[in-house]
Symmetry: C2
Subunit: 142 residues, 2 copies
């Protein structure tokens, strides 16, 4: 189902700004608001940064986008929603990779004890050193 249809299905208006943001996030997963703005402006130079934030927030609320917040980084966005996949972040260069759920189907949604909380999302963030950074300087973490 294309983005226009999905927007309409939620009662949201189909605007150039929303379609452009969705297109950029779709082709550049794990982009920050700034990065999205910069790329969208190649097609839509007059796009305001505020609109990028508006669009990202609205579409995240309606689950057309997914947001996650790695440490030392602005929030990142992707169109891959609903599959509870995880992320690995390189602590040296910030590189982000998708990681499928470790132990079969969404096991992370059933924690051993959650103090009576009803869990809806499990965001798993792996932190480590990516291959390139390890080759560049094989020392310990940093």
């Amino acid at each position: 189902m294309d983005f226009s249809t999905r927007l309409r299905d939620h009662g949201l208006r189909v605007t150039r700004q929303r379609l452009a943001v969705l297109g950029v996030v779709d082709s550049h997963p794990h982009s920050s608001a700034d990065a999205v703005a910069e790329k969208v402006r190649r097609d839509l130079p007059e796009l305001s940064l505020q609109s990028v934030y508006n669009v990202l927030n609205d579409l995240t609320a309606f689950d057309l986008l997914r947001r996650f917040s790695p440490p030392h980084s602005p929030a990142l966005y992707e169109t891959r929603v609903g599959d509870n996949h995880h992320h690995a972040v390189c602590t040296r260069c910030g590189r982000v990779e998708d990681v499928d759920c470790a132990v079969g189907h969404a096991p992370c949604l059933t924690p051993s004890d959650s103090h009576g909380m009803t869990i809806q999302i499990a965001d798993v963030l792996y932190q480590g050193i990516c291959k390139d950074c390890a080759e560049r300087s094989p020392g310990p973490a940093g």
Copy 2:
């Protein structure tokens, strides 16, 4: 082992500021920098917020503290390090609870495929509705 010893073991100086911050974080796990500053100032009124950031950053780097960054929240700190435990955050009230690793001992450290990255930390962040918030208004997520 007490905090002074652990500081010295890393070649770090033992200062009132560091001990006070460690004490507050220890008795108030999952505190933000602001919250730490406010509580430390009951004993050490002249403590600067910049020093709180300095101390939290330095001690996190030496693994005397652990930091994590829930969405829509400043970074939170705790003294419970090295056991790879996880966190559940209420999306309504922000409450944070510790959650032991779901599937035995640190399974989260071995993701199915990490694109060649050497994983060192797995931060699992469960998001949901806490018991109190659910009782207050039992509707769907918020």
